[in-house]
């Protein structure tokens, strides 16, 4: 049932007195009756004229008094200001880092990592705030983008292999943990995370393939990652029973 507390509170508040209804006017140029009055006619910008009481009561009888709207612009301005403030702070931090880097340690361009991190952070913030998708979807995209970001960072800093060897398997393991907790928290819809789990299994399998192909030197974490994800997926499918079958049927319907 819907939350009644807020509605009740509003209802218990004494009904607000009718806001001052703006006087009904008529545009002498267009001949249109403006139910909400206003300083100028929105169509020709001519100053409208007031109407006498008798005409106003006839208009109210014929057309009613219109339907006022809330002032939305104020809310929009606040949201835009908040996003701009975050962007401004991020730019300031990056600029300061670049300046400090240039003055104190010009031989190592560590500030580029700050810059990349800020861009990544802002893009992700924008994605989480504005993008319309469920948790599972957003986490999936987050994991994928993180993997890509880490892989690129490794590649651009000498391609030493630490991303594939340690960090990306850790991200997948972290993803497993997140999915596990989400399934516990959202028990009535735990099957929603199945596709995400399947995608992580595929990502794990790709890294395992790279391990066997010789691209990864130390495969301990890769093995742990694929083992944990596989056991998790297997347990989900076996214990999920009819719910999993139904979920798969719906998700894969053609």
């Amino acid at each position: 049932m819907s939350k009644k507390t807020k509605a009740e509170k509003k209802s218990n508040k004494k009904m607000q007195p009718e806001e001052t209804v703006r006087s009904i006017k008529k545009c002498p140029q267009c001949g249109i009756i403006l139910l909400q009055g206003g300083d100028t006619c929105p169509f020709c910008h001519c100053v409208p004229e007031d109407q006498d009481e008798e005409t106003v009561s006839q208009i109210k009888k014929d057309f009613g008094q219109g339907a006022p709207y809330p002032d939305i612009m104020k809310k929009q301005r606040l949201v835009r200001f908040a996003l701009r403030l975050i962007l401004f702070i991020m730019i300031m931090i990056t600029a300061t880092s670049i300046a400090l880097n240039f003055v104190f340690t010009p031989s190592i361009w560590w500030s580029l990592i700050v810059l990349a991190g800020m861009i990544y952070g802002y893009v992700m913030l924008d994605y989480w705030i504005k993008h319309d998708a469920g948790f599972a979807n957003k986490i999936g995209v987050q994991i994928f983008v993180s993997i890509l970001f880490i892989f690129l960072a490794d590649y651009l800093t000498g391609n030493r292999g630490w991303a594939l060897q340690w960090v990306i398997p850790s991200i997948i393991l972290f993803g497993d943990a997140v999915v596990f907790f989400l399934m516990l928290l959202n028990r009535s819809r735990w099957t929603s995370y199945l596709l995400l789990l399947i995608l992580m299994e595929i990502a794990g399998a790709v890294i395992l393939f790279l391990l066997f192909a010789g691209y990864i030197q130390n495969g301990i974490l890769v093995i742990i990652c694929i083992a944990v994800t596989s056991v998790f997926l297997l347990a989900t499918v076996i214990f999920g029973d009819a719910k999993i079958t139904t979920e798969l049927k719906r998700r894969f319907h053609i």
Binding site: S11, M15, E18, C44, D62, G66, Y69, G134, R251, H253
Partner: protein
């Protein structure tokens, strides 16, 4: 006793029209429409919340959430708490975030004397929205004014259909002629200075039904043809300045298919036809434009043509080679096709029709309104609804310049129609 085993949530496939909306919906192009009504007194939020909960329990197709499959989107019964009834705090028809609002695809809001129902078009069309909205109003009025219960039962109306069939698929017949279905040639786009980003302007025009009917009769056209014709004429005069143009003005008009196929579905069941006016000479008169538009609409509203459009739309969905393509690829293709054809339409004008309420409820409701959100290439749209003696035509627009409407009203005034107007104040 063992605890009752929880039933698996119901699910269903999206109807043919609904397949498009989740793909193209964005903040600026929400594909959300609004139906609202003003009452004689201020709205009681608690009674409205109670009414929503009661009515919603009967309407499974409003209790759905949208989910992505590997190949298609689908609806699944939403087991979350019913959405909160809130005071209006956004522009009409603003985007319905599928992961917020407890994942429901509609919202009920209020402001002073007005109750609003906003629906994501994937769920249902104006017909379905109106069925739900009327039941919501009835229920609200029964709670708010218990004296109605002396003559009415406290239950949803008998005689309404809660049918959820996909009437597109049910009535699909292979058509011989697909070329007649849609023409995607470029049409005039209404450009000009726009309102600040994210702002939606609303203009309600109150038109006496009798005067409108008399004006249409004078030219021997239907009310719908008269409205569309006048609107197209206003665009022609203001936007083309009465000049010759190779690019036509194309005003889309949705046609409810239920009466043609004897359907009562609460899902989408409509097609779009086009009122096309291509000025081949200078200075067409108002009457000439009215008759061109009337003939154009008349030629398309026949069972054969409507069936051509329906079968063209459904044929892609039924294509066995397209069906197994993964959803993300389908989305890219659908978005691409949509964007390529979006500029084939200048505007849309829809007529929801005449709303009638049962006698005990009627005195409590003053007006009905309907409005549409913006689409790509269409910066102004109109929606008409008639209740009691007043026809209310609501234009929604992101344009700062309203000269098209000035000409539109001037035409109506010249035909003896008294016009009263109300806006949401964004032009002040």
């Amino acid at each position: 006793m063992s605890p009752k085993k929880k039933k698996l949530p119901a699910w269903e496939k999206l109807d043919n029209t609904a397949l498009l909306f989740p793909v193209i919906a964005t903040e600026g192009m929400s594909n959300v429409y609004r139906i609202s009504a003003t009452l004689t007194e201020e709205v009681d939020p608690q009674a409205l919340a109670e009414a929503q909960d009661k009515v919603l329990s009967h309407f499974l197709n409003f209790r759905m959430r949208l989910r992505s499959g590997v190949f298609w989107y689908y609806f699944e019964e939403n087991d979350m708490k019913y959405p909160e009834v809130k005071e209006e705090n956004d522009f009409p028809g603003s985007y319905i975030n599928k992961s917020k609002n407890n994942q429901y695809l509609f919202r009920v809001t209020y402001y002073k004397k007005r109750i609003n129902l906003e629906v994501f078009h994937a769920l249902t069309d104006g017909f379905g929205g109106l069925v739900f909205f009327k039941e919501l109003l009835y229920q609200y009025l029964r709670i708010r004014y218990p004296e109605i219960l002396n003559v009415e039962k406290d239950q949803i109306s008998s005689g309404i259909f809660l049918d959820k069939e996909d009437s597109y698929l049910r009535n699909f017949k292979q058509s011989k002629d697909h070329s007649a279905a849609y023409k995607s040639k470029k049409a005039i786009t209404l450009k000009g200075e726009k309102l600040p980003n994210g702002t939606m302007g609303v203009i309600h025009c109150y038109l006496p039904f009798v005067e409108m009917k008399a004006a249409a009769k004078k030219y021997g056209v239907t009310l719908n043809q008269f409205l569309v014709g006048t609107y197209v004429y206003a665009i022609y005069k203001e936007y083309l300045r009465g000049d010759v143009s190779k690019t036509p003005i194309n005003c889309c008009v949705p046609v409810d298919l239920r009466s043609y196929y004897n359907s009562h579905t609460l899902k989408n069941f409509f097609v779009m036809i086009s009122a096309i006016f291509r000025p081949e000479k200078e200075d067409y008169s108002y009457e000439e434009v009215l008759h061109i538009i009337a003939d154009c609409l008349k030629s398309q509203i026949n069972p054969e043509h409507l069936n051509d459009i329906l079968s063209y739309n459904v044929s892609n969905e039924k294509n066995k080679f397209l069906r197994p393509i993964p959803l993300f690829l389908k989305n890219i293709a659908i978005r691409h096709v949509y964007e390529a054809t979006a500029f084939g339409t200048t505007s849309t004008l829809t007529n929801v029709g005449k709303v009638e309420l049962r006698e005990p409820y009627e005195p409590y409701v003053e007006h009905f309104y309907a409005m549409l959100s913006m689409s790509k290439g269409q910066n102004m749209k109109g929606a008409v609804v008639t209740y009691k003696d007043t026809m209310i035509l609501t234009f929604s627009t992101i344009l700062a310049d309203l000269s098209i409407l000035r000409t539109f009203f001037a035409c109506l005034r010249d035909e003896g129609v008294h016009v009263a107007v109300d806006t949401n104040g964004v032009w002040e």
